[in-house]
């Protein structure tokens, strides 16, 4: 289990002021779950992910993965970035196998594993292509395959589909659910799309900015329903989906509205 306990992060802004980016966030990510952090920009969701990935130390609090404290980046936490970070000089298969190369896995075994993972994300015929020959959606699929290659305990995804067009994005969401259903990986996923959060998450945590904090938890089951029935339209048109959507929407917008009303009072 991944446990985040009272995690706080303070940054120093350029003008010397202290920015409270994350305020006492606590979170559990159990086996076989997809936890989606949802919030407007500046709510600390990327800060939280960076801390879990080990790119950023915490000011206060702790993060443990299966009891081990998280201090630095490592292959036990696979990261999929918003911007594609594939190596332009390596073939798709070599990109996927990069983590295996770091681990000292021999070449032939790396190739086999890469092909297997490319099959999982539907790119088996692109093993020898180069990243610049692929579309944005395909590159993100390579990114997912690469993060899975080292068989991490958790997959961390920082708005991975944010830069994709909406049609590709829907395909990628379904692909991710397939990957999750087949590998049983736990996933921490960041988005600012309420619909994406509800569709993908087994748990949705809503975050609010200044200071970034978790304001609500929802346990959701649309993703399990989709994995079983594969009927997107039934899910999106379900009344419970619409109700949750409205509830979360009001939560996401509330702090903004409060801040604005305060400003109006001041004027």
């Amino acid at each position: 289990m991944l446990q985040v306990r009272n995690a706080s992060v303070f940054f120093s802004a350029r003008d010397g002021r202290v920015v409270h980016a994350l305020d006492r966030a606590s979170l559990d990510i159990d086996a076989n779950s997809i936890v989606v952090a949802l919030g407007a920009s500046g709510c600390g969701k990327s800060t939280l992910l960076n801390a879990i990935a080990g790119f950023l130390p915490l000011s206060e609090g702790s993060i443990t993965l299966d009891g081990q404290p998280v201090a630095s980046p490592g292959a036990d936490r696979g990261v999929v970035f918003q911007k594609d970070t594939l190596l332009p000089w390596s073939s798709v298969a070599d990109n996927v196998a990069l983590g295996l190369r770091f681990a000292g896995v021999p070449g032939r075994e790396r190739r086999e594993r890469a092909e297997e993972l490319l099959g999982l994300v539907g790119l088996e015929s692109f093993a020898d292509a180069f990243p610049h020959e692929l579309s944005g959606g395909m590159r993100q699929r390579v990114g997912i395959a690469r993060a899975l290659a080292t068989d991490p305990k958790i997959l961390l995804m920082d708005e991975p589909f944010g830069a994709l067009d909406s049609l590709t994005r829907e395909q990628m969401q379904e692909l991710l659910i397939d990957v999750w259903a087949r590998t049983g990986k736990r996933i921490f996923f960041i988005t600012h799309s309420i619909e994406e959060a509800l569709f993908l998450g087994t748990t949705v945590v809503v975050m609010s900015p200044r200071p970034g904090r978790i304001v609500a938890h929802f346990d959701v089951d649309f993703v399990r329903r989709f994995a079983a029935e594969r009927d997107v339209r039934a899910i999106l048109s379900a009344p419970e989906f619409a109700d949750l959507y409205d509830e979360i929407r009001s939560l996401v917008h509330r702090p903004q509205a409060e801040a604005e009303s305060r400003r109006m009072v001041l004027q």
Partner: protein, 283 residues
């Protein structure tokens, strides 16, 4: 039906091709310049030919193309100033190559270190920033006083001229490395050396190659200065020696040879770049 037939014929008949359009470009945008450059070269040659043919310039200042060609053949045949053309050429190439190898093997690692390490940057930044804008002719006398008039002072002078662009470009290569790429590698379990070998070095390679290309160009342009130092061999020496006797045709031959080699090197570096960093500009 008729529309369909017409649209079918429109794509198949080349005479009836639709007007192909594209967005208005800005700047060069990949436009071909080769034919224009070739035309310019021919025009310059013609101007040279005409200027000498009608004696617009005294022959002492500007020899005719025929004289230069004859002199070139004479130098190929008999050599110049007691050495064959090949001896002059090999002396110059040896100096340039030795200097390039030394400059690259010192400049690339030092530049990478300066891009990665606070101490390396702090220690070496001041001396490099101080010396590299200096014209090589300015410290040439020091080279002679310190290192004598042999090969060493010439190679050191060329090395100094080539070192700065190579070192600075290796630094710039490290700086251009996106942090996401580093984080991605770390989260895939890369160790320090693996990070350097598989991420930092290839990411910096395009900049390093550009630096080498500039460095070799600077080397050629410093060659004449280096061969001012009591040389008896070298293309630069040939030019300087010929100028003492007002043998402008030999000066022209020397300049032509340097230009041809510098161009060939630059072209070779481009080929090397296309082979080593085919991804450049594509990601």
């Amino acid at each position: 039906m008729t529309d369909l037939a017409r649209s079918g014929s429109r794509t198949s008949d080349p005479a009836d091709r639709p007007k192909i359009v594209r967005l208005h470009p800005f700047g060069l945008d990949g436009a071909r310049t080769g034919p224009i450059s070739l035309a310019t070269a021919l025009l310059l040659l013609a101007a040279w030919f005409l200027a000498t043919h009608f004696r617009l310039v005294p022959p002492l200042f500007l020899p005719t193309p025929q004289e230069v060609a004859t002199q070139f053949l004479a130098v190929v045949e008999d050599g110049y100033a007691g050495a064959t053309l090949w001896e002059h050429l090999s002396a110059s190439l040896f100096r340039i190559f030795s200097a390039a190898v030394i400059a690259a093997s010192l400049g690339i690692p030092l530049g990478l270190a300066m891009g990665l390490n606070r101490w390396a940057k702090g220690v070496f930044d001041t001396p490099i920033e101080f010396y590299w804008p200096l014209p090589p002719l300015a410290y040439l006398p020091l080279m002679i006083i310190w290192l004598g008039i042999g090969e060493v002072s010439k190679i050191v002078l060329l090395t100094l001229a080539m070192f700065a662009p190579v070192c600075l470009s290796a630094q710039a290569g490290v700086r251009s490395l996106p942090i996401e790429r580093v984080n991605a590698a770390l989260s895939l379990g890369a160790g320090r050396w693996q990070l350097f070998r598989t991420i930092v070095l290839p990411s910096a390679l395009p900049e390093i190659l550009t630096g080498l290309r500039i460095g070799i160009g600077v080397g050629w342009s410093t060659l004449v200065a280096a061969e001012l130092i009591a040389a008896t061999r070298g293309i630069g020496f040939m030019i300087m020696s010929a100028s003492h006797f007002l043998a402008t045709d030999v000066v022209f031959v020397g300049i032509g040879i340097i230009a041809a080699f510098a161009f060939a090197f630059s072209y070779g570096m481009r080929l090397l770049e296309a082979w080593l960093v085919p991804w450049k500009g594509k990601s």
